[in-house]
């Protein structure tokens, strides 16, 4: 039973909006806390204005049932914050406050997330005037005072070629007391653009939600549209989508492991993985002509086929690359000078990870078995079983080791899929979305679960499009991992999470 005030939904399916029960906010909060207490986690919290009030839609993942649970409640200008009881909601509530100008009373640290104006003119959670300028990260910051306590501010312009983000450390010497992360520089308004976009153009927006997770986001987008329109991608397309998704995981994991080696100054693995990541990206290019998998996944199927010749070439090249990857990574994990840097650095306990609602590699490295491919399989993953790779220490080593385990298992999965590619068509026509329905599509990208929540109005037009990138859940995990660490270990911890700025800022 999903509970009296929640509706049950399978990943990659839709249900009529009316089937999602409405209840009071307090009742919904109690329900959420009960479910989270029994192993569920928060996947998304989205707002939709209804007259002068705000309807909040919640999506929970219930791994033990393999289903999603949906509920909704209407709130006014102020409501009691869920965060004190459920810390995983803290970013979602800040987001609601910023987007819709509502105030979650009792939120411990209510700040803007992306520094844009409220979507409802006249409503602003911080009572800012219409002509007040809103600049990224011009806001309050947590501050530790005291003799010998000092503040180090890093970014938004960094020394390396990375995305912009602002990090403030409260330090006592080299010791970090607190790290506060402020993002929003990459805010482009993609969610709003997805609402307004011509359906033929929306796919291009989905491809750029987070450039390194193109296949994950596009697949989630297409699965959601197919669910709304009662379309179904053919099995061959599902298999090619899964191959592309695993290739994306392979390339990014190998690149990350090389970058981790680079951050501790271990040159051999860094040099090799840099090349191997490129080789793996070229495999995606072999499938669709683009190294990041753009133009491959399309509503109703995929745009490119894998003929037997190319499939066998892909398999052969993958085996060759994997041999080199194995060599480079065995060297990494056998070097004591590397292990001593990885082990015990930036630990996140499994209880903290549960509380914060971490997902993906970061959660699995803290011993949580969170992997949408196994929990809520959709597409090809209903047939291809993927073991969940976890490690229990929660430190940089765990995040590196989980990546290495996943590299091996993804490679096996790709080989299996290539060996038995289903026959049949590549795409079916995806019917237009049916009216008044809600669809949720969750895909396990390389960084973690990608969630697309789409709701249509009675005319079949998209009324709500909520994207939750795994980074949105995980940035707080990085901030907590740095507590009581050395400030010099920050770059290493940061790389071990390797979160997306644009996926967070949308």
């Amino acid at each position: 039973m999903a509970g009296v005030s929640l509706a049950e939904l399978h990943n990659g399916f839709s249900l009529p909006s009316s089937e999602v029960p409405r209840c009071g906010w307090d009742e919904l909060c109690t329900e959420i806390c009960t479910h989270i207490g029994s192993g569920a986690r928060l996947a998304a919290l989205a707002g939709r204005p209804v007259n002068d009030r705000l309807e909040v839609l919640v999506v929970l993942v219930r791994p033990e049932h393999g289903t999603l649970a949906l509920g909704r409640a209407e709130v006014g200008a102020r409501f009691a914050s869920l965060t004190p009881a459920c810390p995983a909601a803290h970013m979602f509530e800040r987001e609601l406050a910023e987007q819709w100008g509502v105030v979650p009373d009792g939120h411990p640290w209510l700040k803007p997330v992306r520094f844009h104006r409220s979507y409802r003119p006249g409503h602003d959670a911080w009572s800012r005037a219409v002509d007040d300028s809103i600049l990224p990260c011009v806001t309050d910051f947590f501050r530790v005072d005291g003799e010998e306590v000092h503040e180090v501010a890093v970014g938004p312009v960094h020394a390396g070629v990375i995305e912009p983000g602002h990090f403030r450390f409260q330090c006592h010497g080299e010791h970090v007391l607190h790290l506060e992360i402020a993002l929003g520089y990459q805010h482009r308004g993609v969610e709003r653009a997805l609402l307004a976009a011509d359906p033929r153009r929306a796919i291009h927006l989905a491809e750029t939600l987070a450039g390194d997770s193109t296949v994950a986001h596009t697949t989630a987008h297409c699965v959601a549209l197919e669910a709304l329109g009662a379309g179904q991608a053919p099995p061959r397309a599902e298999a090619i989508r899964a191959i592309a998704l695993e290739l994306e995981r392979l390339a990014n994991h190998v690149g990350d492991l090389g970058a981790l080696a680079g951050d501790v100054g271990f040159l051999p693995t860094q040099s090799f993985c840099g090349r191997l990541r490129g080789d793996l990206l070229n495999l995606t290019a072999l499938v669709c002509g683009n190294r990041f998998g753009r133009n491959l996944v399309r509503p109703g199927g995929v745009a490119f086929d894998l003929e037997p010749e190319r499939a066998s070439e892909l398999g052969a090249r993958l085996q060759e690359i994997l041999q080199d990857v194995r060599g480079a990574l065995e060297l990494l994990f056998e070097s004591s000078s590397v292990l001593v840097r990885f082990e015990g650095t930036g630990s996140v306990s499994s209880s903290l990870a549960t509380e914060l609602g971490l997902v993906g590699v970061a959660a699995r490295a803290s011993g949580l078995e969170r992997d949408v491919r196994a929990e809520l399989p959709v597409g090809m993953y209903r047939f291809a079983q993927v073991p969940v790779s976890t490690w229990h220490t929660g430190d940089v080593f765990a995040r590196a080791w989980v990546r290495w385990l996943e590299v091996q298992r993804s490679a096996v999965l790709v080989s299996d899929l290539l060996a038995a590619l289903p026959t049949g068509g590549l795409a079916t026509r995806c019917p237009a979305p049916r009216g008044d329905r809600i669809a949720v599509a969750m895909v396990e990208g390389w960084r973690g679960e990608v969630c697309h929540l789409v709701q249509t109005d009675p005319g079949g037009r998209i009324a709500t499009y909520k994207v939750v990138d795994p980074s949105f859940h995980n940035w707080m995990g990085l901030a907590m991992a740095l507590r009581n660490q050395q400030i010099s270990d920050f770059p290493l911890c940061n790389k071990s999470f390797n979160l997306s700025y644009c996926g967070h800022d949308l």
């Binding site: 180090v152 271990f266 040159l267 000078s337 840097r341 400030i487 010099s488």
Partner: protein
């Protein structure tokens, strides 16, 4: 005799940046890359000297003075530096204390220049540099002290000149300890792996590099050249202890030691290619270890 020692100083002035090029090529070789040209450090310095500089409005005079004193101290230090059996132009009893003092002066001025910017990063780098050098200096002093005591010499030139007759042959363990301590101090003082990563772009992990982030143009060129001179001084000293050529001809001794210096740089490149950086909190432990090795060497020699 005099001519060989003057040429030794000139060799140091000219060849010092080459050590950085050798290290980079060795690292490239290990990584399977072709690497940057051997003479790239010269090109970098030449390029920087031709460029204009940007000065932050928060900086004062010390900011520009630091790099200049760094180079000046390095040049004066070279005149005290013997190349194996080839004596330095200036040698007097207790000159090794002056050499250490010059290196400390260079560091002091660079640290002041870093603090002059008022930037949190540079302050952080300066505090790290000073904390680690406070441990590296005793190790260096003890190592040189052991050398001087073992050879009954008063000056650095006499000590290095006699090291193969009086230290390596009669009391091998002490010599090994001195060489090991010198090697550790060399890597630390010159911001190499495992202490610091000269290639990193991660400002929070840097030690030496972060101190000179605000320097640009000719000032930064001087910082690089000063760093090269320092690397040369340490490498040549280590090579002087390790290279067993004392044939009596200052020219041959000097050439052998210069080749040894290049080998020391190549060895440094090999270390960088095969091991990861230490955690910053572990750095003092290794430095104290070096000091203990040097102290043991002092006790071992009679």
């Amino acid at each position: 005799m005099v001519s060989a020692s003057i040429v030794g100083v000139l060799a140091g002035l000219i060849l010092a940046p080459l050590l950085g090029g050798i290290i980079n090529r060795v690292k490239a070789l290990f990584a399977g890359r072709s690497g940057q040209p051997l003479l790239q450090p010269y090109r970098d310095i030449a390029k920087l000297l031709r460029k204009g500089a940007v000065f932050s409005t928060t900086t004062g005079e010390m900011f520009g003075v630091g790099p200049a004193i760094g180079v000046a101290a390095g040049v004066v230090g070279l005149t005290l530096l013997p190349l194996g059996g080839s004596r330095a132009p200036v040698a007097f009893s207790g000159d090794f204390l002056l050499l250490l003092g010059l290196l400390a002066l260079a560091r002091f001025c660079i640290v002041l220049a870093a603090l002059d910017t008022g930037s949190a990063f540079e302050g952080m780098g300066a505090s790290r540099e000073v904390a680690f050098s406070a441990l590296a200096e005793p190790a260096m002093l003890l190592a040189v002290g052991a050398l001087v005591r073992a050879t009954d010499a008063q000056s650095l030139s006499a000590a290095v000149g006699a090291v193969w007759k009086q230290v390596w042959q009669p009391s091998m363990p002490a010599a090994v300890l001195v060489a090991a301590a010198l090697a550790v101090v060399l890597l630390c003082e010159n911001a190499r792996i495992p202490f610091d990563d000269p290639n990193t772009h991660l400002e929070l992990t840097m030690i030496h590099e972060v101190m000179v982030l605000d320097h640009s143009g000719p000032d930064f060129g001087l910082v690089l050249y000063g760093g090269a001179l320092k690397l040369w001084i340490f490498s040549a000293l280590l090579a002087g202890v390790l290279v067993p050529v004392r044939c009596g001809s200052p020219w041959l001794d000097a050439v052998a030691t210069v080749i040894g210096t290049f080998c020391v740089a190549a060895g440094g490149g090999a270390v960088e290619s095969t091991m990861a950086r230490l955690r910053l909190v572990r750095v003092p432990q290794l430095l104290v270890g070096a000091a203990v090795m040097a102290a043991l060497a002092v006790l071992l020699v009679r």
